[in-house]
């Protein structure tokens, strides 16, 4: 019955090894997905703009005339070397697009996650603690409605609201053009770059632009966090060890916070992977709504242009990000919960 806590390193290695088949499977899926479409990607995207020889040349360059297996192999080996190919429409390496626009998406999703955690977790704990009171009902309703309202709808409402109440507030974009051009690029994450440059007004500008999109996207997952923590708290409050703590004379407030709440929060870690997946999907919508210059809006632009290569490249990145984060979360969970070390 007694377990050894020394198996943590082994567990981490196990999880990291799992990375390989999962990434491989995901990449295969993406590859197959993109080959399901009819016709050939080159014609679809730039067919009208180039003469037939140029189109043929493009097809050759992209390796579209090769047998499927070779294309698959090229794709996989390319990804492993960090090469996600080039776009059809403007021949840009996908990695460059990611470099230029990834930072904005990162900024947005991280800010949204922070907002959701800061708002959602305490609300969920309170709802569970004060079960079946008006507060509980209100919080649960808030959780349901915040998920039910589409991101673009919330975005529109926010924009309408701020237009009337805070007329000067920026409603679109990541920053004013001035900020964008004056802040030197180091990390490609505008917020960090403004802070690094010590540029106060630029930082404030970026934050002002960030606020509405981040809240809008964060609301998407707020409801899930509320629901999860609430259910967890309901269970931990009835736990045997909670009653035993009461019997030892631990004051009720401490019992609720140090035992019930704390133990209720730990399982939240396990769904971070799911939340990241949702955020990535939601980011696409948020970026469209707020004209946010991230990978999401790029994806939509390339979809409209039927640029299969670009779509494939960006989706590949997203897929890898989700898998890597899931594995990381497993590891972090093992570090926090002493029971998870098989």
């Amino acid at each position: 019955m007694a377990a050894q806590s020394g198996s943590l390193p082994r567990y981490i290695v196990q999880r990291l090894l799992l990375l390989i088949p999962m990434v491989w499977l995901t990449l295969t899926l993406v590859f197959l997905l993109m080959r399901v479409a009819p016709g050939d990607p080159v014609t679809a995207s730039v067919g009208g703009r180039l003469p037939p020889q140029a189109l043929e040349a493009r097809r050759e360059a992209l390796g579209l005339n090769e047998p499927l297996i070779k294309q698959y192999w090229d794709y996989l080996s390319g990804v492993l070397q960090g090469d996600l190919g080039k776009t059809i429409t403007d021949n840009t390496p996908i990695t460059e697009i990611i470099k230029d626009n990834g930072g904005a998406t990162l900024e947005l999703t991280v800010a949204a996650m922070l907002f959701a955690l800061v708002i959602g977790l305490p609300l969920g704990l309170l709802a569970g603690r004060y079960r079946d009171t008006a507060a509980d009902g209100g919080i649960r309703l808030f959780g349901i409605v915040s998920y039910a309202a589409p991101i673009f709808f919330i975005g529109i409402l926010f924009q309408l609201l701020f237009l009337n109440v805070f007329p000067g507030w920026p409603l679109l974009g990541q920053s004013t053009p001035i900020t964008e051009f004056t802040v030197p690029t180091h990390t490609h994450i505008l917020l960090l770059d403004s802070i690094i440059a010590g540029d106060g007004s630029a930082t404030v500008d970026v934050l002002k632009h960030l606020m509405l999109p981040a809240i809008t996207l964060g609301l998407l997952i707020c409801g899930i966090l509320i629901r999860l923590t609430r259910v967890n708290v309901l269970q931990t409050l009835q736990a045997d060890y909670v009653e035993a703590a009461r019997a030892r004379g631990i004051p009720e407030r401490k019992v609720v916070t140090a035992h019930a709440f704390r133990n209720a929060l730990v399982p939240v870690i396990t769904i971070i992977g799911l939340l990241v997946a949702l955020l990535l999907g939601g980011a696409v919508l948020t970026e469209q709504t707020f004209a946010w210059p991230g990978l999401g809006s790029q994806l939509i632009t390339y979809i409209e242009q039927r640029d299969y290569a670009a779509v494939q490249g960006i989706i590949t990145l997203f897929a890898i990000v989700v898998v890597v984060i899931s594995i990381l979360i497993d590891i972090i969970n093992a570090l926090i919960d002493p029971r998870v070390r098989y």
Binding site: P21, M22, L25, T26, L29, L33, M34, V36, A37, P38, G39, A44, R131, D132, G137, I144, V145, Y147, A148, A149, P150, I151, F152, F153, G155, I156, L157, Q159, L160, L163, L171, V231, L234, Q235, G273, L274, A277, L278, L280, G281, G282, V284, L285, Q288, T289, L299, I300, I303, E304, R306, V311, I315, F318, A319, V322, V323, S326
Partner: protein, 307 residues
Amino acid sequence: MATFKGILAPFRETTGFARWMLLIGLVIVVFFVVLAVGADWIAPYGFAQQSANGVDFKKAAPPGPGHLMGTDRLFFDVWSRVVYGARTALEVIILAVSVSLVIGLVLGLISGYVGGWIDRVLVLIMDVLYAFPGLLLAIVFGFLLAEKIGAGVISAAGAITVIYIPQYFRVVRSSTISAKESTYVEAARALGAPGRTVVGRYLFGNVIHSVPVIGTLNAADALLTLAALGFLGLGIQPTDGAEWGFDLSRALEDVSSGIWWTGLWPGLAIVLLVTGLTLVGEGLNETINPVLRKRRLRKITVEETQK
């Protein structure tokens, strides 16, 4: 085994909150079903109608006489588009959820019953599918299907279907496996009952309990996905029908002009229907899931203590 009364029993035992959720949710959903079914009679105009009785509609007129919710930049009546949007929404949801249910069920049954490498491969594929950002999956599929068969109800529903297959697959698969291996089944077999019947009955009871909850919550999610696809232009064509998400994408440009009614009403429709479906799903979940059901302990009255 699971008699009708048996299925209903938990509902009668529900305490206040869950019952309310269920009730309110059902009312909302029924309302939209009525809108969808009776669209032709309820909506004053067609969803792409730009004039009536020889008079053109005004462009982007605020709510007022003749146009309950105003008109948009394309001269369409907003209220009519909301009503017809309900029809589109329900068509797509029902199609998507039932198809993914059937596919997930069949695959789950096969996987659970046959086992072996088929099972392992299917589980791996489903896990990856499940972990993948749902919306992105729908976007890609929507994009591809739109290319193949043209954007419309079928392509939208198809794109959405894929996302939910893994959930049904998992539930049915685990029920099949535990039904196959349970000692209950062994005992029944020992008594001579044919394996298939027993597994079937046991499975039926288990699945009956989880599918309604998953199904309604899926429907809620499917609607959001449909709206997202519509917003991104990957959904229904405006000439084929009205779709709330698509209308919202057009309403986005109206914001700067202070026009609020083109976005508010379709948006509220989405919020309301999704909330309704979620309430039904959560209400069902609370009644069926015994962990969340609250035991009833009354407080003792003073008179009783005198006895």
